[in-house]
């Protein structure tokens, strides 16, 4: 195990990059160095409702552990597993490989399809926005690469697990997915970690490129331990008549700042996004979902449902951004929050930024308590109060969770909801 203790000046950082990434092609090394110096320059992200000022980043030990093979439970269930940022396992069903589907660590993909990676890396996610993002761009570990060839229709979901052990201090996953013309796939990413004594920084980046008429069901379920602080940035560029469905379940981590962005820059592109979050104890959750309509006749629909208990705090910002020229576009948002405690707090900022008149844009947001009459009714039928509350939370989330088209992901989300209700 090798760590870097000092990342507050360029010299040791550069040495670190040379020591650990020296085998990589020159363009990538240059890129890492560039973002390394940007990481030192850039300020911490300024989040209006998530104070980050007091975080000390200059002594993050970035773990570069040896690949481990079977540390993650049930690793055989997954097509790809990363442990502390290192890829340990990648398998695809015979049928998929036969059709030319590629699933590799990103570093391996650099050897196999260097042009594809060079062209796509950093083209969708903006790595210059803040310190955490630049850190990911500079020091991402093994990463993950998925390519679906034209017209391939993958029926089985591809499942990926990111796992961190208790001693991990910084995990920097980077995912790049390219779906070629008219292909279809389902991908689920899962984030799990062991509870650690010290804080663990997760800085995650997922880039998705959908070529014309490609369709992706993207699922992510975050159940990190309370010692984790996660900064997640996901972005998809959506081709002509292509479509992405985001299904995001947010349950874990002591603090999480997560964004997902859909760039609709070709006509007919569509994005549907469902976020389910459940805050408990002293969790701090800050989510942003953005649909950027650039091309005409694009559609977006973003839904969020959150349940808040204990002294958890959440912020949900939805942004429907319709640029000039995106005529005939349709952008909608709906946010609903169920408050289970007086000490929790939920903020919602559903914004519409509209530069075009021939469009339809709407949002609705609401927050409210658990219906006392409903609890009373259920208890009158012999249920305990806990059981009644559990049922009502189920009823609140069901319309959203049950629309998740991937069975395994849906079940996992429900399992997490159950866990949180009882927590």
């Amino acid at each position: 195990m090798d760590t870097i203790a000092e990342t507050n000046t360029m010299a040791p950082l550069e040495q670190f990059i040379l020591d650990h990434y020296g085998q990589e092609p020159e363009w990538l090394l240059a890129r890492r160095r560039r973002y390394g110096s940007l990481y030192l320059e850039l300020p911490l992200p300024v989040r209006q409702r998530t104070p980050l000022k007091n975080r000390k980043l200059d002594r993050i030990p970035v773990l570069v552990s040896q690949p481990v093979t079977d540390i993650s439970p049930n690793s055989s269930m997954f097509n790809l597993v990363t442990v502390n940022g290192r890829s340990v396992h990648a398998t695809l069903p015979e049928s998929a490989t036969a059709q030319g589907v590629v699933l590799l660590s990103l570093r391996e993909a650099l050897r196999q399809s260097p042009e594809l990676v060079q062209e796509a890396l950093g083209s969708v996610v903006d790595d210059t926005v803040d310190k955490f993002q630049a850190l990911n761009a500079a020091l991402w570990q093994d990463g993950l690469f998925l390519y679906i060839p034209p017209r391939v229709n993958l029926t089985e979901p591809i499942t990926i697990s990111h796992y961190a052990t208790a001693d991990a201090t910084a995990v920097l996953p980077r995912t790049l997915m390219i779906l070629d013309r008219e292909s279809r796939a389902t991908v689920n990413e899962q984030y799990v970690s062991e509870a650690g004594l010290d804080k663990c920084l997760w800085s995650c980046a997922t880039e998705i490129i959908l070529h014309d008429a490609a369709v992706l069901q993207y699922g992510a379920i975050q159940q990190l331990s309370a010692s984790a602080e996660a900064f997640v940035r996901r972005a998809a560029r959506i081709g002509r008549d292509a479509r992405i469905d985001w299904n995001i379940g947010e349950f874990g981590a002591g603090m999480v700042v997560s964004e997902h962005l859909s760039v609709l820059d070709q006509p007919g592109g569509q994005t549907y996004s469902t976020t389910v979050f459940f805050g408990s104890r002293s969790q701090h959750q800050d989510y942003t979902a953005t649909a950027r309509h650039v091309a005409p006749h694009t559609a977006s629909n973003m839904t969020a449902r959150g349940v808040m208990k204990d002294s958890a705090r959440s912020v949900f910002t939805g942004v429907t951004d319709i640029k000039k020229g995106a005529v005939g576009s349709d952008g909608r948002q709906k946010e609903k929050i169920l408050m289970l405690s007086d000490t929790s707090r939920a903020d919602a900022i559903p914004s519409l930024l509209i530069e075009e008149n021939d469009v339809f844009a709407a949002h609705a947001a609401s927050a409210g308590p658990i219906d006392a009459h409903a609890v009373f009714y259920l208890m009158g039928r012999g249920l305990s109060e806990t059981e009644a509350v559990r049922l009502i939370v189920h009823g609140f989330l069901a319309p959203v969770i049950d629309t998740i088209p991937v069975g395994a992901l849906r079940d996992e989300v429900w399992a997490q909801v159950e866990r949180k209700i009882l927590e």
Binding site: P350, L352, I354, E356, S366, A367, G368, P369
Partner: protein
């Protein structure tokens, strides 16, 4: 559709004339400690007010310019004239008012309106109130309606008790500026249990180029009382910028109800940066009816702090942004007591390259049990060059509350247009009808003559607009 929806409010400004230089005393441009001391000296103010002003000036210099909202880069504080005295004395009868100023207000229709239906009228020209009257019978009931400068002389205790308590200078840069150089504005006190069932009206007019108008209004509705205050604003059109930065503080005590109606129709060279806030105590009701038609940039978010159990707050607003205009408006509702309710209804129209922004906040503090809020924002974008942002913030820190928010952004519906034109209406008439229907929830809340004026403004400007 062959033709596009037509203009709603003409960008040509009706009240853009000016009267030349009529002031009897006009300060040099720019703001220093001397400016503030001089204003206070001319007004023969007590020491505490001068101290208040000077403290506010320090706060103003210290505070950075807001980096959000509209573009304030072209606002140069050094180019503004901070005080202009238009006449020697305040008129008690209409005849006392200097002829040039009288002509202006005649053209704006002020005295005529007063004769008809108002409880009292206050007319502010530049920095000072030039004319003031209140109906005798209301005065006898104990209602005070005067300008804030006179109130400082005549009701010093009452004023000092409340002045600056709702909006302290530290609140924001422009509240600090107003606190330092304020002049004019209205002071209203409605005694316990008194109902003032006809509106009191104030009229604000800027005449000089680069004028800064900083009126300061304080309204106290005592226990169980009711009042309705109406204000209107206009200014001449110049090529350089004027600044209107008012502070309005309102206290609505237990069981009282206050309504504050504004129709702001500044010329398109005026920065309108206003802080308006009310506190509502037990079972009190505060209503803001807020129309923003003119100005270059308006940043205004009327607020109600619902501090007493059962208090109610309402904001009903429209914003119309035409060529080169940005209306950055909204509302704030702070629920800080149980069983409080609030309603926000916002209607925005952007046309001819204008921009409207709805920026609002609904906050539920811990302990605001059984409180409810309903927010609805609708926007019509009339053409391809115009834009609109909707940025509502909601903060919920109590489990026992209900918050609902809805917003839409659309163009004039083609189905509605089709339906109306198939009934024999021209497209122009149909568009007008749809727009009138869109803002009707606002106009129906206006006092009669304001609603008539509003409809006239819209109808008149739409006539012959099709091309």
């Amino acid at each position: 559709m062959a033709t596009k929806p037509q203009m709603l409010v003409n960008d040509e400004y009706q009240y853009g004339f000016n009267d030349g230089d009529v002031g009897v005393l006009k300060f040099a441009r720019g703001l220093t400690r001397q400016t503030v001391e001089e204003i206070s000296r001319i007004k023969k103010e007590p020491k505490w007010m001068l101290d208040f002003r000077l403290h506010a000036l320090d706060v103003f210099f210290k505070k950075p310019m807001p980096r959000w909202g509209g573009d304030l880069d072209h606002l140069k504080f050094d180019d503004i004239v901070y005080y202009v005295k238009p006449s020697e004395n305040q008129g008690r009868t209409w005849e006392d008012v200097p002829q040039a100023i009288k002509d202006t207000f005649e053209r704006l229709g002020i005295p005529e309106a007063e004769r008809k239906f108002l409880a009292g009228v206050s007319a502010q020209y530049e920095s000072e109130v030039v004319y003031h009257s209140i109906r005798k019978d209301l005065q006898e009931k104990g209602i005070i309606f005067t300008d804030t400068d006179s109130a400082l002389r005549e009701y010093p205790e009452l004023l000092r008790e409340y002045f600056g308590t709702i909006i302290p200078p530290e609140d924001n840069k422009f509240a600090a500026l107003n606190s330092a150089v304020w002049s004019g504005g209205s002071f209203v006190y409605i005694p316990k249990g008194v109902t003032c069932d006809i509106p009191m009206q104030a009229y604000f007019r800027i005449n000089s180029e680069n004028m800064g108008q900083f009126e300061r209004t304080l309204i106290i509705a005592d226990t169980g009382s009711f009042g309705h205050y109406v204000e209107g604003c206009t200014a001449p059109s110049y090529n350089s910028e004027s600044l209107h930065s008012a502070v309005v503080e309102i206290i609505v005590k237990d069981d009282a109800r206050m309504r504050y109606t504004t129709v702001q129709n500044w010329a398109s060279n005026v920065y309108n940066l206003v802080t308006k806030r009310a506190v509502a105590y037990k079972n009190a009701t505060m209503e803001w009816v807020d129309g923003n038609i003119g100005s270059k940039l308006t940043m205004k978010y009327p607020a109600v702090y619902l501090l007493g159990e059962g208090a109610r707050g309402m904001v009903l607003s429209i914003a119309v942004a035409g060529k080169g205009q940005h209306q950055d408006t909204g509302a704030k509702m702070i629920h800080a007591a149980p069983n409080t309710t609030s309603t926000i209804l916002s209607k925005s129209i952007s046309q001819h390259g204008g921009k409207t922004t709805y920026r609002g906040l609904v906050h539920f503090a811990p302990g605001a049990d059984h409180s409810k809020s309903n927010v609805k924002c609708d926007t019509l974008i009339m053409d391809n060059d115009s834009t609109s942002d909707t940025v509502p913030y909601s903060e919920v820190a109590d489990s026992n509350v209900e918050m609902e928010h809805e917003a839409t952004v659309t163009k004039v519906s083609e189905e509605q247009l089709f339906y109306l034109t198939s009934r024999g209406l021209s497209e122009e008439e149909a568009t007008r009808l749809i727009v009138m229907g869109f803002i009707e929830p606002f106009t129906k809340e206006l006092p009669m003559e304001f609603a008539v004026e509003m409809n006239r403004l819209i109808k008149f400007e739409m006539e012959g607009a099709i091309g």
